[in-house]
């Protein structure tokens, strides 16, 4: 069986800045992959390239479910089964929580058949927003907005869910809840998930495999345990120090 997502030779220059360098990665069906990297490593740019929000430099290859999605408009890529969330929550302002989730289903395969409203309510219950359906989205707390983003993204019935720093700005109890939620949708729906994070802690227990980025380049890939000990990752996070020991590496985690 072919991989769900195959990316090769992904490059992006912003003027003189080589923001993404020769990124190649493969995501298998059912995996939970983490993209790790310090701020400014190019993680979000990779998402923007994958989802068509930014066009990559010539020579890239992005194949999703066996077809190239390179050069397609963002809405077409989304409709083909890649749902994403944004680093800063971007809900549909002016709509209710329930309407936000319904809109999430309208653009793609999610709109087929079944009662959209009932499904949206179910998704909201799943992410822990039951009882807030009629609330205007502007008054939600930040943590609830994150949950809503995920419900909105799931409404499209994606084959691949791209989460951009889903834990940013959350307290530790909220992080625990949210990663339980991600684990649950992964387990229940067999969903393939890729998530970006620059902190390692929660992430490590959540993902099967980590791809570490720094300065737009893949510096390491492997299991979470391998990554925390990887010298290049340690260097990216706490700088080069010849006396660096593994105890410091676990401290970074």
């Amino acid at each position: 069986m072919t991989a769900l997502l195959e990316v090769a030779n992904l490059n992006k220059h912003f003027g003189g800045l080589h923001a993404v360098k020769n990124v190649s990665l493969t995501v298998e069906r059912g995996e939970v992959v983490g993209i790790l990297g310090p701020n400014g490593a190019g993680k979000t740019t990779v998402y923007n390239l994958l989802t068509g929000f930014i066009a990559p430099d010539a020579g890239a290859r992005i194949v999703f479910q066996g077809t190239s999605v390179l050069g397609l408009a963002p809405y077409r890529i989304a409709a083909s089964g890649i749902s994403r969330t944004f680093q800063l929550c971007r809900p549909f302002v002016g709509l209710s929580v329930l309407e936000n989730v319904i809109v999430g289903a309208l653009g793609s395969r999610g709109a087929d058949g079944a009662d959209l409203e009932a499904r949206a309510r179910k998704l909201l219950a799943q992410v822990g927003l039951a009882g807030k359906e009629g609330v205007p989205v502007e008054v939600l707390s930040y943590g609830d907005q994150r949950r809503l983003e995920i419900a909105r993204a799931l409404a499209a019935r994606p084959a691949l869910l791209l989460l951009d720093e889903p834990f940013a700005g959350l307290g530790s109890s909220e992080i625990a809840d949210l990663s339980a939620l991600i684990r649950r949708v992964h387990a229940e729906e067999g969903l393939t998930v890729v998530l970006i994070e620059h902190k390692l802690r929660e992430f490590m227990r959540l993902v099967d495999r980590v791809v570490a980025l720094d300065f737009g380049e893949i510096i390491a890939a492997g299991s979470p345990e391998e990554i925390v000990r990887h010298p290049a990752v340690i260097e990216a996070y706490i700088g080069r120090d010849d006396g660096a020991t593994s105890s410091e590496a676990s401290h970074a985690a």
Binding site: F53, R90, P91, G94, G107, A111, L116
Partner: protein, 324 residues
């Protein structure tokens, strides 16, 4: 949201009052004012459907009105075609202009669409003067035949058209189509991430808006029995936007009330002549400042809440008593 009996009742009362006014106070002057207010209602509601729902302001709605009116004018006076054909033809012409401006500018972010609409209407006004041999220049085209001979008959036709357009646009606004338009106002990038072709929906809503605004323009031409470059005036566009703000943006039904209120206000301010625009602008500023949700739609929501509360209170007391 608007399928509740109380909304239907409110709409019925409104239509009944509008229909009975000229019968209770029979005067050609009143019928004239009401006809103009109803036509402005069509323009305000069509503006609100596109710009109110998607949040992409259109500063040149007069373009569609003028194009519709001149289409009617040319067909009726130059080619002598029966006025009823003007209605579909003006819709088609207005849609062509909507595509001409919408296709290149609605895919862009930023103020390009608003500016293109504004300049489009100004350019058309100029062109009507430049090609005066065909368009009649400042005088415009005169001698259109009325669609309906009796003044009150035409008023009822305009009122029925307004009601039909309102029902249609409200139904669209309440459908998934309208939900997507409101989502575009909320966040375009998230719409794209949800697989929604944002450009298509913006252009589609502009096309619908333009079609009915153009038909309104043709009706106006056949009411005034003449068309002039003044139809493309920026003042017309600003007046319509003011009506929408007064009515309550994105409510669809509110702008109808806003249009009627402001046309009546204009009549009351007739003596102020050129100062009218100043007064409109002040009204817009005051409303933006003190009533950001507008006047008409929020007022109706309050009335509705009061009516519903009273009915609930009347229905509930039996079950309430035991607890006291």
């Amino acid at each position: 949201m608007f399928t509740r009996p109380v909304d239907v009742a409110g709409a019925a009362v409104f239509v009944a009052v509008m229909a009975l006014l000229p019968l209770v106070f029979p005067s050609n002057y009143l019928i004239g004012v009401l006809t103009v207010s109803v036509l402005y209602g069509i323009w305000a509601i069509t503006w609100d459907f596109m710009s109110g729902l998607t949040g992409r302001e259109n500063f040149g709605h007069a373009l569609f009105i003028g194009v519709g009116a001149y289409t009617a004018g040319f067909m009726n006076t130059t080619f002598g075609i029966n006025g009823w054909w003007s209605l579909p033809a003006s819709m088609v012409m207005a849609v062509l202009f909507a595509l001409l401006i919408g296709l290149p500018t609605l895919r862009l972010k930023g103020p390009y669409f608003a500016l293109a609409m504004l300049s489009g209407s100004v350019i058309m006004q100029r062109l009507m003067l430049i090609f005066w041999e065909q368009t009649g220049g400042e005088e415009g085209l005169n001698g259109l035949t009325p669609l309906i001979k009796s003044q009150i008959g035409f008023y009822y036709f305009a009122l029925a058209t307004l009601v039909a357009i309102t029902v249609l646009l409200l139904a669209l606004a309440r459908s998934h189509f309208g939900l997507i338009l409101r989502a575009i106002r909320g966040d375009e990038a998230t719409c794209q991430a949800a697989g929604i072709n944002v450009t298509f929906y913006k252009i589609a809503s502009l096309v619908i808006s333009a079609a009915f605004a153009g038909a309104g323009g043709a009706m106006y031409a056949h009411y005034q029995l003449q068309v002039s470059p003044q139809l493309f005036a920026v003042v017309t566009s600003i007046t319509i936007i003011t009506m929408v703000y007064v009515g309550g943006m994105a409510s669809i039904y509110g702008p109808v009330g806003g249009a009627i209120l402001l046309v009546l206000l204009t009549e009351l301010l007739r003596n102020f002549g050129e100062w009218r625009l100043m007064i409109y602008s002040c009204a817009l500023i005051l409303i933006l400042f003190f009533l950001p949700g507008g006047l008409v739609a929020p007022t109706w929501r309050r009335i509705r809440a009061a009516l519903t509360a009273r009915r609930l209170a009347a229905a509930v007391p039996v079950s309430r008593e035991p607890s006291t």
